[in-house]
Symmetry: C2
Subunit: 575 residues, 2 copies
């Protein structure tokens, strides 16, 4: 492409209403423009990237054996009523009426439509498994769209839905999709993690989110520094420190601690680190029939750890959502305030976090206002009782798979694979005849990639103060050729044109900056637009038979002999 | 692709609610499924065709220098208010409200959005001309969607919009688009005509529609049997017959013709063909100030010709829309009823069609109830007066470009190129600075292709009683390999697999029908689905070193030696 024939719409100033770097750079580089809140037009530069992402996604989905379909953006209300979501789904579902006052919605997702389609097309277990995907425009009427295409209202998604006769088959396809997504994000050139995710209220038995690691991410991801293990912080299993619990060295002692309640106050009073004390949190249990009120449950975690309510709720016997007991109920049951509770001599159900069981000579509340105990030791001063994982992981924890230590980084969710089970197929009566000639509800999986979001997240991960730095696989152009003084020097113009022709012939995406602009303007534009490989053609270099090459990430340029440049650049572009 | 891993969803019965053949065959072949009125899901087979059409359209648009963009499906009302179309556009424009009660519509077209985008991005005449296109989902809330994807509510369109500093530049791009569309429809393998079209009420000065010729088309296309000339029947210029007008041979004579009014009655009464008489139609002229009523105008055409009201209206002085005078007004002005009018001695403005001026010894009304004149001759019995083209062309007319004769066929409009002029850029103040540093409104063109409709129209043009017959360029699969008794014969299975691998390696789209079905079922499915090239692998043929090849259009199959089949089939697939 010649820059003179391409809409280069770079902007010098950082747009005021763009909060995150990808939004700023997509506007500044001329990739997108806002049409209305949460609605963006893609300019030629941006669309080139979007199409490359789409192509990689399609190639890998096809390779996985999934079949591409295309379902309408506009969906009839009837199907959503069948699944129950017409009522359940919040105002993000944009409900509309056609000229005959029939109800439709703009599809934020296509479970209902695909389930309807497949229940009519697939009648026998012999046709299973089958996996269908589409790359389609979707709409979610976000209350506060923001961050540009990262959280827009209209967006492009790749969504896939698989159908199975049993759980084993679903697991097989799920594993294939896990591998496919790994291939896709690897080819996209992104630093990502497949992350064990909560299946949440939707049910189902397996779910991974694929996160691009970036400081601006909205989720905390815990992952091993050596293995592939990764999980949402809320989901990551927290292990006890390695090795045996240290032996007791102190005697238990009751200490008057006036005005000492929080862990910070305890640490300060006793001049010790937070991990030397245990905190005991009191929540409500499940009220049994005949009980006048809900029982209380004590949850014990180390002073430097945080209670994880999802994990606690899953243990059973704890009220959902998990709720801290009132000061009044605690006083009545235990006889002291929240700041003085400890596990020693506690008569209610007590659950101790794994790491807390490794503490020795620890400090805790004495169950008496104004007093703490120090030098406390498990199995000497109190029984261990019920032990469970009830805390969030922290950096440095051992990885649950036994390999390496936990790191925690921010991630942007760009993909999600999910074992749906029979949620939709049961509600919509999507059945097949099984081996015995009986009707059986199909089991489903679903697999999404936020295609437009991938573009933004790639920028979040790859930028510097000059602009975007594209991975070669999705760069709008892989190579930029900048001619110095091209309008006046025939030699420069001819060499630039020749390189342009030769590099294109090798299948590279090349932008020849033939604009009548100062070199500084051209350099700044190419850097802002993130073209990874740049060749400068100038009279001075040609005098010495050299051309200047610079990778977008390199600090300095290199001189490469004219006759080697095409082969050399071609070699450096990863394909 | 292996048929066992592909959703083959063929249907034997013709669906009851599908009126046209393409709709029937798209359902029967398993290309599409109806989701709701005017909304269709594309199954894998159909989508393969749609994507091939899109690819050809994109490649040719890119080659033309147009730049691809993507604008949202959902568009804000404000822009449509600026252009005036929020009020003007009928209920086909689906108007919706978001959660904040702001008004939007589902875009049926994108003139407003692109004009808004470009007025912000292009500031100088130096950036012109520029042509932007997208391939995007559009929505028109048709009152009566029908014919499947031929007239659906949600559809895929390629729309392009060009911007210019002057009319010459628009004309240049318009000509490039004309050539580009010709390339596109040629590559799609369709029999089509670029047709001179009416610019209608939208204004503008140039327009061509691209029609696929098919009996089920909704438009009548007049085109030359030897040259490229083609036009909508309403637009096609009607010439007089070639040569001089025959000489008069009869004397003018007044004949009593009781109860003879229509041309049919005249022909019967005088035992002559309809082209021997002239009919005179009386319409209202434009009422001038001071006139108590509108004047009458006589329009004279040959008995076998039809008046064209669009042409008549364009002459000036005739009321728009053209309206036939009442019996009462005619009686008052001429003294007879409509069935007895003729041009001889008529005192009102009289416009004579070119072909009517070539009649000799003709019959016409005598301007006296119950009488006709016969043996009438121009310039002897009456003056020629005002001559114009005021009739529809008919088959056999000389082509207006002087080459060949006119044929008339039905056409399906699949593309439209249009010189918009300043309709949108003026309303929306889309200006650039011109050479003199002054603001100047841009001139625009627009260029559309109904991508989903192309698929249906290709079927309308290419089918037989067994199903679809795809052109090679857009066939979902170019080659089908059918193994006879594949499950039992190792030899057949191995040969079929080998051919499959070898043909795929040559870049062909191959469907290996490896299903455990009877040969008859497989043949019927492959024919219904329209795969153009079929190879049958069977034990009997292999015994003789032969494979059976059949083109979908051929009546009989041919035997081709095993060792030649790959090269031979590859040669026959046009690429």
């Amino acid at each position: 492409m010649r820059a003179s024939q391409f809409l280069i719409a770079t902007i010098k100033e950082t747009p005021a209403d763009a909060e995150v770097i990808s939004h700023q750079l997509m506007l500044r580089a001329g990739m997108i423009r806002k049409l209305a809140t949460g609605l963006y037009s893609w300019l030629p530069l941006g669309l080139r990237v979007l199409r490359k992402v789409e192509t990689i996604v399609r190639e890998e989905m096809d390779r996985s054996g999934a079949q591409e379909v295309m379902m309408p953006v506009v969906q009839p209300a009837e199907l959503w009523e069948e699944s129950g979501r017409w009522e359940q789904y919040g105002p993000e579902l944009l409900r509309i009426s056609d000229r005959h006052s029939r109800s439709f919605c703009l599809g934020p997702t296509h479970e209902e439509v695909i389930t309807d389609l497949i229940r009519n097309e697939i009648k026998s277990y012999k046709q299973l498994p089958a996996n269908f995907y589409q790359v389609q425009t979707k709409f979610r009427d976000e209350i506060r769209p923001r961050f540009g295409v990262m959280r827009s209202r209209e967006f492009v998604m790749k969504d896939a839905y698989s159908f199975h006769k049993n759980q084993e088959s679903l697991q097989e396809t799920y594993d294939v999709m896990h591998a496919t997504y790994t291939n896709i994000f690897t080819r996209l050139g992104l630093d990502f993690r497949p992350v064990i995710a909560d299946t949440g209220s939707i049910g189902g038995s397996g779910s991974h989110e694929f996160h691009v690691l970036a400081n601006s991410g909205e989720d905390d991801i815990a992952f091993s520094d050596t293995s592939n293990y990764a999980a949402n912080v809320e989901m990551a299993e927290a292990l006890a420190p390695a090795g045996e619990r240290p032996s007791a060295t102190e005697a238990m002692e009751k200490v008057a601690t006036p005005d000492v309640h929080s862990i910070e106050e305890v640490s300060q009073f006793f001049s010790c680190a937070a991990d030397r004390s245990l905190k005991t949190l009191i929540v409500y249990g499940v009220q049994e029939e005949g009980q006048s009120k809900a029982p209380l449950v004590a949850l014990v975690v180390r002073g430097d750890h945080e209670l994880n309510d999802i994990k606690a709720e899953k243990l059973g016997g704890i009220a959902k959502p998990m709720t801290f007991a009132s000061e009044e109920d605690i006083k009545a049951a235990i006889g002291c305030g929240t700041g003085s509770i400890g596990p020693v001599g506690l008569s209610i159900r007590t659950i101790v976090d794994r790491s807390a069981t490794h503490a020795a000579d620890f400090i805790c509340g004495a169950n008496e206002d104004g007093y703490h105990l120090k030098g406390v030791n498990w199995e000497r001063d109190l029984a261990l009782g019920e032990i469970a994982d009830i805390r969030n992981v922290v950096e440095g924890d051992p990885s649950p798979d036994g390999e390496g230590k936990i790191l925690i980084r921010r991630g942007i969710e760009v993909g999600h694979i999910f074992q749906l089970g029979t949620k939709y197929s049961e509600a919509m009566n999507a059945t097949v005849l099984n081996e015995n000639g009986k009707e059986q509800v199909m089991i489903m999986g679903c697999y999404g990639i936020g295609v437009t979001r991938v573009v933004a997240s790639a920028i979040e991960q790859n930028n510097d103060d000059k602009g975007i730095i594209w991975p070669d696989s999705i760069a709008p152009f892989q190579v930029a050729i900048v001619g110095m003084n091209m309008q006046k020097s025939d030699r420069v113009r001819e060499k630039a044109e020749q390189l342009y022709t030769e590099l294109k012939a090798l299948g590279l995406d090349v932008l020849l900056d033939d604009r009548n602009e100062r070199p500084g303007v051209k350099f700044a534009d190419m850097e802002l637009m993130g073209i990874p490989h740049r060749i400068v053609v100038g009279d001075r270099g040609l005098d010495q038979g050299m051309l200047e090459y610079k990778h977008r990430r390199a600090t300095d340029s290199e001189d490469i002999p004219v006759e080697q440049i095409v082969a050399e650049v071609s070699k450096r572009v990863s394909r």
